[in-house]
């Protein structure tokens, strides 16, 4: 029952990715202002959305871990696996955002990078979750999960503050680069390819997230059985 469902999901995801690619490259019309360059939006924006979604999953996992760690150890382990998977896959998608962004910016604005509030927030978010992953690497033993959960909550708390502070920063000194190129809406002929790509990348992200979660659960089970063996011996 479980296996056919997974196979079906993988097949649907691959089909969606192919369909999304076809839509992005062949169906969507060339942009009037930016030409072919704008097609990067079909990869940049979905990756950003998926990254933010997965960081939210990581935060939820961290909170659930702290809530369950005394009463429901098995639930706590599941939450921790979600927290780790969300952070790790989120960092990968965030890296894609931070790579495609400058590539786009170089051609569209003439510069690779600007300390605009969106860019800065994304970069700081990336830094925070990389430090979260580093903590998980450096801390050992069962306490690591608790420490990581606390840091996960701290990191998530920081994000709105970074966002606000950078908005104020840029509201006081308007960035010349962003002169109305944002929020100008999208032509209806581009909306469909865009939504298909959102769906395809979301399906793809969830697939990777599921695999990472599964691997982490296997790790936990092996660690638990090893600990049990050590106790029995």
């Amino acid at each position: 029952m479980k296996k056919p469902a997974i196979v079906l999901y993988v097949a649907v995801t691959i089909a969606l990715m192919i369909w999304g690619f076809y839509q992005a490259i062949y169906v969507a019309p060339t942009d009037a202002m930016q030409g072919e360059l704008f097609r990067i939006i079909f990869y940049h924006v979905p990756s950003a959305s998926v990254a933010f979604l997965f960081f939210a999953i990581s935060l939820a996992g961290s909170i659930c871990y702290l809530a369950f760690r005394h009463n429901r150890p098995d639930w706590a382990q599941i939450s921790d696996a979600w927290a780790l998977a969300g952070a790790e896959v989120g960092v990968v998608f965030c890296t894609v955002v931070l790579t495609t962004g400058p590539l786009w910016g170089r051609r569209a604005w003439g510069i690779w990078w600007t300390w605009d509030w969106r860019l800065t927030t994304t970069l700081v978010l990336w830094l925070i979750y990389v430090s979260y992953l580093l903590l998980r690497r450096f801390a050992a033993g069962p306490q690591m999960q608790t420490l990581a959960a606390v840091l996960g909550i701290f990191g998530a708390l920081d994000v709105p503050i970074v966002y606000m502070s950078n908005r104020w920063f840029r509201t006081q000194h308007p960035a010349p680069v962003f002169g109305g190129s944002e929020g100008s809406g999208m032509d209806p002929s581009m909306v469909h390819p865009f939504l298909w790509n959102m769906l395809a990348w979301l399906a793809w992200g969830i697939l990777i997230l599921g695999i990472r979660y599964h691997v982490e659960r296997q790790h936990q089970k092996i660690a638990a059985s090893e600990a049990q063996e050590a106790l029995d011996a």
């Binding site: 702290l66 700081v124 830094l127 925070i128 990389v130 430090s131 979260y132 580093l134 903590l135 450096f138 801390a139 050992a140 069962p142 306490q143 690591m144 608790t146 420490l147 606390v150 840091l151 909550i153 701290f154 990191g155 708390l157 920081d158 503050i161 970074v162 606000m164 502070s165 950078n166 104020w168 920063f169 006081q172």
Partner: protein, 222 residues
């Protein structure tokens, strides 16, 4: 003032008064950073006013990391930290005592450093100088409050001294930005620092509250 908090605070202050470890290393380190920056950037005139706020904040940040690392590491000897864990007093009081003690150390360093800073960077303050007496303590509190928390978090990890910087600096970024913007606008006299002071205040309130709530979780993590 709660008794446990007072006891911890007096103990930390007494140790520091007798050894002056954290104080001397911080003072010398921040002095070095100020000198190195002024050699690297050759500050003069308006330019020195523009960068001075950033240099002061970053110097404080780097220097205080050495004190923050010592804050818990010195409790490991003779297993003091285990005794603190077993003590039937709330961990929040211990945390707050450590924050207040280290806040005082960093503040004293800043006060001593200030004249050197003014001399090396040829500063004369164009804005309202008394606002610095609000901005710097708020920024220092943000740094030390989070720093003590994360030092407790990283105390039982490998590479703990490095790890503290790695997890503290990303979280400190908004407070650093606010501190630098506010200081710069006071030094140069253009722009209104009020917004940044409010941001610092909000940051301090949010993170101190969360640290107080979560400190026991971290301190007793096993």
């Amino acid at each position: 003032m709660p008794r446990a908090l007072w006891t911890h605070l007096v103990k930390d202050l007494r140790i520091e008064l007798r050894s002056l470890d954290a104080f001397v290393s911080m003072l010398f380190f921040s002095l070095l950073v100020v000198v190195l920056f002024s050699i690297a950037f050759d500050p003069h005139g308006d330019f020195s006013r523009d960068i001075a706020g950033g240099v002061l904040s970053v110097a404080t940040m780097f220097a205080s990391v050495s004190a923050l690392n010592q804050a818990w590491a010195r409790e490991i000897r003779h297993n003091v930290i285990d005794a603190q864990r077993m003590a039937p007093t709330p961990g929040a009081e211990l945390y707050l005592a450590k924050v207040i003690a280290n806040f005082l150390f960093v503040t004293v360093v800043q006060v001593i450093l200030a004249p050197f800073f003014l001399i090396f960077y040829n500063l004369h303050i164009e804005g309202q100088a008394w606002l610095l007496a609000i901005v710097l303590p708020l920024g220092t509190w943000a740094l030390v409050g989070n720093g003590i928390f994360f030092a407790a978090l990283s105390i039982r990890t490998r590479n703990r001294e490095l790890l503290l910087s790695l997890i503290l600096f990303p979280i400190f970024i908004p407070a650093l930005l606010a501190m630098v913007r506010a200081t710069t606008s006071i030094l140069t006299g253009d722009g209104d620092p009020t917004l940044w002071i409010k941001l610092l205040l909000g940051y301090d309130i949010i993170f101190t509250t969360v640290s107080l709530l979560l400190f026991d979780v971290v301190f007793h993590a096993e």
